[in-house]
Every structure is written in structure tokens, then in C-alpha cells.
């Protein structure tokens, strides 16, 4: 798994689940796309499906302050790295 694949998957999830096409990677999701707490929970489920791994309660709590898609990708990358799912750069 590479950073590019993560970004592609996240964009795909946003299009599929949230009907947001070509999102601005650094826009505030709440302000720009009316993204809310329910969407955040759905997104975490989508990430678990994508990574084929369970995200722990502690890791989920760390997602609370995420505001942008770039930050989502950072978050996934960090979890993937911890699980040794990342391909070497």
C-alpha cells in the first residue's frame, strides 16, 4: 500500500459514500462539505474495510481532531505503518 493508493481510496470513498467529487484536499470538511459526526463514523468504518483491520477505540479517539482529507490520509498512513501495511517508499 502506498500514499497514492490511500489518497485514491479516500477520494473514492468520498465520492461513493458522501457524494463529494474532486474534493479540496485541504478544505475544512465541516465548513465546506457539511461533513458531520455521523459521516466521521461512517468514514472510520470505510477505513477499516479498506485496511482490512480493526481500528482500536484509542486510535478512533485520535481521529476526533481531523478536519481535512489530507489529515485523513495522514491518519490512515500512520495506522497502516503501525500494521506494516505500507509499501517501502
Amino acid at each position: 500500500m502506498t500514499r497514492q493508493e490511500i489518497e485514491r481510496e479516500v477520494k473514492d470513498v468520498f465520492q461513493r459514500e458522501f457524494e463529494i467529487e474532486n474534493p479540496d484536499m485541504d478544505a475544512d470538511l465541516r465548513e465546506t462539505y457539511e461533513f458531520d459526526s455521523i459521516d466521521a463514523i461512517e468514514l472510520l468504518l470505510a477505513i477499516e474495510t479498506f485496511l482490512e483491520t480493526e481500528i482500536t477505540q484509542e486510535e478512533k479517539k485520535q481521529a476526533i481532531n481531523i478536519r481535512t482529507i489530507t489529515q485523513i490520509c495522514d491518519y490512515i498512513e500512520k495506522i497502516a505503518k503501525k500494521r506494516n501495511l505500507l509499501s517501502p517508499a
Binding site: F18, E19, E34, D36, I38, D39, I41, E42, L45, E48, T49, E52, E54
Partner: protein, 412 residues
């Protein structure tokens, strides 16, 4: 404080049409909304009753994603009629979001389609990841007050929320408790109604109780047959309806188009059996309803009977109507057109009566060909009457022994 309560908006999605034109046309030309039960993966194979009051035309929705995500089919119905009623009422966004408008809306058990999906995943899942297919929003779609709070969310309504889930009296309670909220000054307006989506589990329940119609599976439009000697049970249906109730002086001051007036409401319980109709309980409800209006029962022109077309229910109701109202009012059973739309029946029947008040006609009870000899004491309607209607009662009774009566009047 007691204030007059008027109706300034109404809309219904029913098996005989969406909106006044189609519904009135069906009522005046005797078009039934009963269709063959759809074949589906499981229950329809085992249900004896093969008929359903079906919304078989497309309803166009224009809801944004952030609203749709918490909505099952029942909330789509609810939000659509709510939207139409808000538009028709002409209330401003400032008022709608002020806290002076509340919502009284319900369904019999949220969204059964969503619940069925939850159970499918739950029983089919083989690992923890699969169980997570149960979505974060599934509860919001399936909870009993899903209709009410999807409406408040979509339109930014901040007043009180009442969400009855009392089976067949759900929306008559919505209107009744909404009426009391405005009458006694707790809110200046209430958006009231009920909805239920297409669902075969409800049919299975009534089928198991031997309460469903089964003798007209090949001729769906011949059933249900309220008060007819050949009636053989109810037909489950789907639909939604909403009305806007508003304090009279406020409505008058803002120049609202007033469509009718709610003049009374009563609700009680039989205090015993949860299924069997109860003559004493129902009779008491009707008496209480009349008492709240301070009018003579002989002044009531028209009664919309609950009349589900079960063997015993219609006879008990006929007796209660006769005891309280005598033989003066015309009596009709509107479920003969739509089937029993469950949580929506009270509001849909109220709206149909308001249409009759507006247009000066009384729709006949469909399929009432030969009146059961135990129901002949009433003034039944078997063909369309061109007849003014000034005062009417809408009666509904539910499992659990809950009884309601709403009293409405043509506005003058």
C-alpha cells in the same frame, strides 16, 4: 388559556394518489389503491393475504445527502409531506426555526426495511468485520421517532417533538396532541402526521392473527369491504400525511389560507385486552370527543369510521357510533380505498375529509355492496353524494386498546 386551532396546510401520499387532485379523483370515481402483494425474498411466500394498499407511482424527492443519510423509506415519505405542508402554509423560515413550531409525527416502528437489513447482517455475519456492515446511521433510520426528527433536522424546527408510536392511532394522536399543544398555548403551530413504508412483516402479523383479507387475492380492488356482509379482514397499506395546525389569531393576522379547524380530540384506553375491539372503551372515546367540542352529536354531518373491515371491529364500531351519534351523520370507511395505512391512517383520513369539506361531496365506502345486518343502523354512503360537510369526526382504534377521535369543522 384555550385558543382556536386551524389547519393551514395538508398533504398526503396515498395508494390512491399524491396530492389533492388525484386523491379526490379516486374518491369520486371509486378507484381503489389495493394491488397484489409484491413477491419478495421471504415473507410473501408464506402470507395468505396477497393484497396490499400500494403506492405504485414514483414520488420525486429532492433531498440533500446530509439529510438522506439518516432516512429510511418511511422518513422519505414523512419529509416529503412535511415539505409540501410547510410550503403550502407559507410560514416564514424565521418562524419555522423560532421554537414556536413543534412537530408531532410518528410511524408504527421506524423503518422496517432498515431493521430487516440489520437482522440480515446480524444473522448472516461470520466475523467481526462483517457485523460492522450494520451502519452507524441504521438506528437513526429505524428508531420509532425517525420521522419526527428527520423532519426537524431537515427544516431546522426547534420546538417540541411528540412522536407517538401507537400503531393505528399514531397520526390521530399526532394531530390530537398537536392540537392540544396549540390550544393550550405551549406552541403556536404544530406540524403533525404519520407515515409508514411498504412492509410485509406487518402483513404477516395481521395474517397470523387471521385479521387479513384473503378471499379477494385475485381481485384486489374488491377488498377491504368495510361494513359489507362479505368483508373478510383488513388490507395493510403504506403512505404518509401531514397537516399544519396553527393558532387562529396568528394565522389570521399573517393572512394564511385556512383550510379547516380542529374543534376537539379525545383519546382513551380500553384498560384490558390488547387486540379485541371494546364497545365500552370506544363508546367512551366518542362521547369524550363530542364533549370536548361542546356541540350536540346530532350536529355532526360525517363520520370517518376506523372501519378496517374485520368481522368484529366493524360491528362494535357501528354499535358505538349508533349509541353516541344516532343515525344522523353519514358514515364512511375510507380504508376501502387505501387499505390500512397504519401510522398514516388517521392523518390521511383527516385530509380526505378536509377535501370533501372543501369540495362539498361525500365519498362512498368502496365495496359496500350489501350491508351487514348488524351494521344497518347507520347512514352508510354507497354512491358519491354532492353534499356540504361542515362538521366531521375521524375515528381510529389501535392494538393496545388505544382509541382516538378527532373532530374537525369547515372553517367559517
Amino acid at each position: 388559556m384555550e385558543r382556536r386551532v386551524v389547519i393551514t396546510g395538508m398533504s398526503a401520499i396515498t395508494p390512491i394518489g399524491h396530492g389533492k387532485d388525484r386523491i379526490v379523483e379516486s374518491l369520486q370515481t371509486g378507484i381503489s389503491g389495493i394491488k397484489p402483494l409484491r413477491e419478495e425474498e421471504f415473507l410473501s411466500r408464506y402470507i395468505h393475504s396477497k393484497v396490499y394498499g400500494t403506492v405504485d407511482y414514483p414520488v420525486e424527492y429532492d433531498f440533500k445527502r446530509n439529510h438522506r443519510k439518516t432516512m429510511g423509506p418511511v422518513a422519505y415519505y414523512a419529509c416529503q409531506v412535511a415539505k409540501e405542508v410547510l410550503e403550502q402554509s407559507g410560514l416564514t423560515e424565521d418562524f419555522i426555526t423560532s421554537g414556536r413550531l413543534g412537530v408531532a409525527f410518528g410511524s408504527i416502528h421506524g423503518s422496517p426495511t432498515t431493521q430487516r437489513n440489520i437482522y440480515r447482517i446480524f444473522f448472516g455475519a461470520e466475523d467481526k468485520i462483517a457485523v460492522k456492515e450494520i451502519g452507524a446511521v441504521d438506528y437513526l433510520k429505524s428508531m420509532v421517532h425517525t420521522t419526527a426528527v428527520n423532519i426537524t433536522k431537515m427544516f431546522g424546527i426547534t420546538g417540541r417533538v411528540i412522536s407517538s408510536g401507537t400503531a393505528c392511532t399514531t397520526s390521530s394522536q399526532s394531530i390530537g396532541y398537536g392540537y392540544e399543544s396549540v390550544k393550550f398555548g405551549m406552541q403556536d403551530a404544530m406540524l403533525c402526521g404519520g407515515a409508514d413504508e411498504y412492509d410485509t412483516t406487518t402483513v404477516a402479523v395481521f395474517d397470523n392473527l387471521l385479521a387479513c383479507s384473503t378471499a379477494f387475492n385475485d381481485t384486489p380492488n374488491k377488498t377491504p369491504r368495510p361494513f359489507d356482509k362479505d368483508r373478510d379482514g383488513l388490507v395493510v397499506g403504506e403512505g404518509a400525511g401531514a397537516v399544519m395546525l396553527e393558532e387562529y389569531e396568528f394565522a389570521k393576522k399573517r393572512g394564511a389560507n385556512i383550510l379547516g379547524e380542529v374543534i376537539g380530540f379525545a383519546c382513551n384506553n380500553n384498560g384490558g385486552d390488547m387486540i379485541l375491539p371494546n364497545l365500552i372503551g370506544i363508546t367512551n372515546t366518542l362521547k369524550l370527543g363530542v364533549e370536548t367540542t361542546k356541540i350536540n352529536p346530532r350536529e355532526v354531518d360525517l363520520i370517518s369510521a376506523h372501519a378496517t373491515a374485520t368481522k368484529m371491529g366493524d360491528i362494535i364500531e357501528a354499535q358505538a357510533i349508533s349509541d353516541v351519534f344516532g343515525d344522523t351523520p353519514y358514515v364512511i370507511g375510507l380504508k376501502s380505498y387505501t387499505g390500512h395505512t397504519m401510522a398514516a391512517c388517521g392523518v390521511i383520513e383527516t385530509i380526505m375529509i378536509l377535501y370533501m369539506m372543501q369540495d362539498g361531496f361525500i365519498a362512498p365506502t368502496l365495496n359496500l355492496e350489501e350491508i351487514d345486518e348488524r351494521c344497518t343502523m347507520l347512514k352508510h354512503v354507497q354512491k358519491v353524494l354532492q353534499q356540504p360537510v361542515n362538521t366531521a369526526a375521524i375515528q381510529n382504534f389501535a392494538f393496545g386498546g388505544v382509541n382516538t377521535i378527532l373532530m374537525i369543522k369547515k372553517f367559517s
